[in-house]
């Protein structure tokens, strides 16, 4: 009954599946990003209070959301590795860490850039900003922990434990704007249900950019995971055949 589940965890299957669908994902992402960015950054009307500089929200909100989503995803795959010992789950979790750290850094940087004109400061120790900074530290800690181990398996398990411990930070980030008085605004004024403040011409481009950035994240994740698969499975037959095929193609081209 569970056979399909474990078959899904086969690195070889992941490799061949992504081989087939990655170009599609790239095209969809390019489509979503180009429409969303041109629409959001150039065509939507300026905000009546913040003027043009609210447009950074089209980058800031999706990256900040994705930074947390990436952590949750990494923790889920870590749990999957710990529970079922699926090697592919650990490879994906490993790929999540540097991408998540970068996205978190982008979310913090865009937030800071937005803060200078609107708050008058680029950094303030409020709960939302501080807890997001902690998440960046957690990502870097996980990367550092993995690189400290010589054994792939021990490093993977240690990182899985640390990722799961760090999950406590996620609800803190999510609810920080409600639990504490923060300079960072709550999410209510940006939610889709608040149609008076957010007419479709404001949130539709956000929708495009959001899914575009998600697509970009998935592309980066898949590419990193594929590299990891090739590295760890380098002694297997199918990787050797793959390398031979590439070499033959290069020779015939030359």
């Amino acid at each position: 009954m569970w056979q399909w589940f474990f078959k899904l965890g086969s690195p070889r299957l992941f490799y061949s599946m992504t081989d087939r669908y990655l170009p599609w994902l790239v095209w969809v992402t390019v489509f979503l990003m180009s429409i969303g960015l041109i629409w959001g950054l150039a065509l939507t009307p300026p905000d009546y209070q913040m003027g043009e500089n609210y447009r950074i929200a089209y980058i800031h909100v999706p990256t900040a959301t994705l930074a947390m989503g990436c952590y949750a995803m990494m923790a889920c795959f870590s749990a999957g590795y710990m529970i079922w010992n699926i090697k592919l789950a650990d490879m994906i979790a490993k790929a999540c860490a540097p991408i998540g750290a970068t996205i978190t850094a982008v979310a913090l940087a865009t937030g800071s850039l937005w803060g200078i004109p609107t708050w008058g400061t680029w950094w303030i120790w409020d709960a939302r900003l501080t807890s997001t900074l902690i998440m960046l530290f957690l990502y870097t800690g996980i990367i550092a922990l993995r690189s400290a181990f010589d054994s792939v398996d021990s490093g993977a398990r240690a990182c899985a434990v640390l990722s799961l411990v760090g999950v406590v930070n996620l609800p803190i980030i999510k609810y920080s704007v409600e639990w504490w008085q923060t300079l960072h605004q709550g999410s209510s004024s940006l939610s889709l249900s608040n149609t008076a403040a957010n007419p479709p011409e404001i949130w539709l481009p956000a929708f495009f950019v959001g899914f575009g950035i998600l697509g970009f994240f998935l592309i980066a994740l898949i590419l990193r995971t594929r590299n990891e698969i090739l590295l760890r499975e380098r002694r297997t037959q199918w990787v050797a055949e793959l390398v031979n095929a590439v070499q033959r193609r290069e020779q015939s081209n030359a």
């Binding site: 902690i134 550092a144 922990l145 400290a148 240690a158 434990v161 930070n169």
Partner: protein, 229 residues
């Protein structure tokens, strides 16, 4: 087999007694965290200025941060020697519940490394010109907060005990997790110094303590099994 197995209470008491005895025999385990705390606190007035208005504004932060660092550095004593002489493997193979053995171990570490710091904290608060109304919340916060620091530090230590050079790595792993405790602990003192109620912050620290007592021994155990195999 099972009938001559000692009860849980006896095992916990035995673990605590063993840990305390080991700590007392090698007195550095008791003295060094305390001396680090004392010396590090002394550096701040010497480096930053001795005006009492300046000192009182940084007092709670200095005491909390140095206590936190002292505890983090002391975590090395918790598993290192046991790992090297093999008693950690015995602990993991023991038929007794690992959860309570680990809690007992961390509790004895807290007694040895943290309690002296908590006792000395009000003295240093006075030396840093902290107003008298900040003293009680400082001690209460440390009493509730430092066990959390020990339990979280034990997770980081358990993850890195198998590595040969783990000092800075441990700091990178667990200092981010220490931040909430630091924020609430210093927040209590700040609140008391501006005559605001601090019971809510103390309750939050207590909630964090209950959560870490419930969950962290599971993570410590899982991490130790990874490090030992």
């Amino acid at each position: 087999m099972t009938e001559n197995r000692p009860g849980l209470g006896a095992v916990i008491a035995g673990t605590v007694r063993r840990e305390l005895l080991l700590a007392l025999r090698s007195s550095g385990e008791v003295i060094n965290p305390l001396m680090f705390f004392v010396i590090a606190v002394t550096l701040f007035p010497l480096g930053g200025g001795v005006e009492s208005s300046f000192l009182s504004s940084i007092a709670s932060g200095v005491i909390w941060v140095t206590a936190l660092l002292a505890i983090m550095f002391s975590m090395d004593n918790l598993f290192r020697a046991d790992y090297e002489d093999g008693s950690l493997e015995q602990l993991l193979m023991s038929p007794q519940p690992l959860y309570f053995l680990l809690l007992a171990k961390v509790f004895s570490h807290w007694l040895v490394a943290c309690l002296p710091i908590i006792v000395l904290a009000p003295v240093f608060a006075d030396m840093l010109a902290m107003p008298a109304e900040g003293r009680l919340p400082l001690v209460l916060g440390l009493l509730v907060g430092t066990p959390v620091l020990c339990l979280l530090g034990a997770i980081g230590m358990a993850l890195t005990v198998g590595l040969s050079r783990s000092g800075l790595l441990l700091a990178v792993l667990i200092l981010p997790l220490y931040i909430p405790v630091l924020v609430f602990g210093t927040g209590m003192v700040e609140a008391a110094m501006s005559s605001l109620p601090y019971a809510g912050l103390l309750a939050l620290l207590g909630a964090i303590l209950v959560l870490t007592i419930c969950l962290s021994p599971l993570a410590i155990g899982a991490a130790l099994r990874i490090s030992v195999n």
